[in-house]
């Protein structure tokens, strides 16, 4: 990608190298070059139009409208009379940080991320390493097994997990009663609802991470491993000294996308608990959805969206800094 773009953007810098047929690259025949460049540009624009239109309508416009809206008191009546919305500056933002419910949802989201991300990454890595090294015959079976939750719709997942966690006749309750104990009410308890939700999210997302790691593992040359083994490295040493460092880019990528995904967590609490009991599983996204689409506090919900956006951006930048491969 690099050569083509730079060639198009800065034709003057391009020398008559082997890549000469690159668009508009020639020093000779300027007029012709110019015309063909115009045609090239037109064709480029033509081919990008579908994307640009979709991007403008479904991304750029909503993003801009949300930003504008976050500085107004846009409410229900403004759905039909948007011109009556008032500009209120940063009022929505200042109000947010005095809003107990928002702070609680922020805390819940942080809880979800801090516990959920390391678990997902660790489990995904372990499963990937096991599948990549051990069990030769049933490998495909296990890969599909771990990946199945990823492609299952959340509603189906919710039905299954409700059965598993049902305190009166669920699977877990059955196991508890086998050993003479009473199962706790996982989703109905303020302290257990969040951990249960995390367990479900981890189960659902390990597959994604696993696939990434398997790809990463297979990119590690066999010679490196062999060399390590010849030098007498044990399984653990090989894992720490070879696998993890060489997986670093994959690890970084997996961590970043999992974190972003978890910061946006919405479906799990939406279908399993509706944020309850007593807001103990209310996440920022769910809170935003309810403010916006149940109560029509569009301005307020937009402000919430931007706070979440800033948080996600901050954390992502931080992760990229911390986890970046410094050896290069």
């Amino acid at each position: 990608m690099g050569t083509t773009t730079s060639a198009a953007a800065e034709p003057a810098k391009v020398k008559d190298g082997p890549g000469a047929p690159a668009p508009g690259a020639g020093r000779q025949g300027r007029p012709r070059g110019k015309r063909s460049m115009g045609v090239q540009n037109a064709a480029g624009w033509l081919f990008s139009t579908p994307f640009l239109v979709l991007f403008t309508v479904f991304m750029a416009f909503p993003i801009l409208a949300t930003l504008l809206m976050s500085f107004t008191d846009f409410g229900l009546r403004n759905v039909t009379r948007p011109w009556e919305a008032n500009f209120i500056g940063f009022e929505n933002y200042t109000e947010l940080f005095g809003d107990e419910k928002f702070l609680k949802s922020l805390f819940n989201t942080a809880y979800f991320v801090v516990v959920g991300v390391p678990l997902t990454i660790a489990l995904g890595l372990v499963v990937a390493v096991l599948l990549n090294n051990g069990i030769d015959r049933a490998r495909t079976f296990f890969r599909v097994g771990f990946y199945a939750p990823v492609v299952t719709t959340i509603v189906a997942v919710a039905v299954v997990w409700r059965f598993v966690l049902d305190p009166s006749d669920g699977l877990v309750a059955g196991l508890f009663s086998e050993v003479g104990l009473t199962a706790p009410d996982f989703l109905g308890s303020g302290t257990l609802a969040m951990p249960s939700m995390i367990a479900m999210a981890v189960w659902r997302n390990v597959g994604t991470v696993m696939v990434l790691f398997i790809a990463g593992l297979q990119a590690i040359p066999a010679e490196v491993r062999e060399a390590a083994r010849l030098d007498g490295a044990g399984v653990w040493q090989e894992f720490r000294g070879i696998t993890v460092p060489l997986l670093r880019p994959t690890l970084l990528y997996a961590t970043v996308i999992t974190t972003i995904g978890y910061l946006n967590v919405f479906e799990e609490p939406f279908v399993m608990t509706q944020g309850g009991p007593s807001d103990s599983t209310l996440t920022v996204s769910l809170n935003m959805y309810r403010e916006g689409f149940n109560f029509f506090h569009m301005g307020y919900a937009s402000a919430m969206a931007y706070v979440l956006f800033v948080v996600i951006m901050g954390i992502t930048v931080l992760q990229l800094r911390l986890l970046k491969d410094n050896t290069k």
Binding site: W83, Q274, F293, F296
Partner: protein
Amino acid sequence: MSRTARTASAALTVALALGVSACGGSGGDDVAADAKQTLTVWAMGAEGEKLAEVAEVYEKANPNVTVKVTPVGWDVAHQKLVSAAAAGTMPDVAQMGGSYMGEFAELGVLEPVDTKTFDKGDFFPAGWSQGEVDGTAYGVPWYVDTRVLYYRTDLAKKAGVDKAPADWQEMRSLAAAYQEKAGTKWGLSIQPSGLDTVQNFYPFLYSAGGAILDDKGEAVIDSPEAVTALKEYGAYFDKGLSNKSVQPGYDVVKDFGNGRVPMFFGGPWHVTLLNEGQPQIKGKWAVAPVPAGTSSVSMAGGSSLVVSKDSEHKAAATAFIKYLTDTEGQADWYERTKDLPANTAAWDSGKLADDANLQVFRKQMDTAKSSPSTAQLTEITDKVDQAIAKVTQGKASAEDALKTAQSEIEGIVKQ
């Protein structure tokens, strides 16, 4: 408005106008009722499917009118209507749930009911009042529903009780007897927390003489009556008579059929669900009026029919609604859907008059109260839901939970 504010709202308007095509204002000339025209109608859920049949009958009698019915799922109904309101593409006639009325009146997309054509006195008071916002009627009641107590008579016999509980005390001791003597898992099924828990709480709240908002629209949820009601509601969870953990989307019908749950508050549609889905308990259950606190008052729900303000077919729309809501149309509608007629005269003939179960609903409807018609209804009931959740989870006393709800709702009402 300051200059910056004006500029900002202008900018916003332009931005929104880009996204929202054709904001309102098609108004135009009204088409006469007898002219050739097409009426667009949106109806939800089961009604949406049945209404097309009725529309065909109507078209035969009124050949100049073509009625185009679009069935809309309840789960997307609210979003669809709001988008239509924003885009100025509301159908000529729409079915609207009682809880939507306040919002859509606020949006200014509803035509006030033509009171020369429709008489308030023909309908149940609660049915009419749920179509009213700030004293103006916007919806003609189409069908009503109210919650009554469903209970298992066979299990009650086992528990040594042979009549329906008439008041709170009797209901609670029956719940305990069901558990102890008839071996049921729970005593009464009521929702502990989550969206719309308030619907389970209304029979308690109203029967105690309480309300969320008073007639003037002021919050009164911390009244002594409301506290008594919530204490009673909470007691069921406290004593293990009701399940503290009910998942969203739980359907009580199956558990009523297998005897895990011997009592619940249900609407008229549960009669059909039980007859069709749980035939093994036919004759082993009955319905009874809501057990009384100071009196027996239940919540009223149902749907109204509204005419869009922008409609060019108001005359024809009114005629169609008249057809659906007069005595005959209502009795016919009951035959098709088992929805309870909102028109009281329709109750006096045929099956409706003879069915003992239905008469319980009929009687309960006379006093039933509809939830307040205000644009912020969902927001307000959400606060009540939270208060109920705190009490059923044992996190707060009824007094404290309702005091919090009161101050929150006061804040919302003032906006």
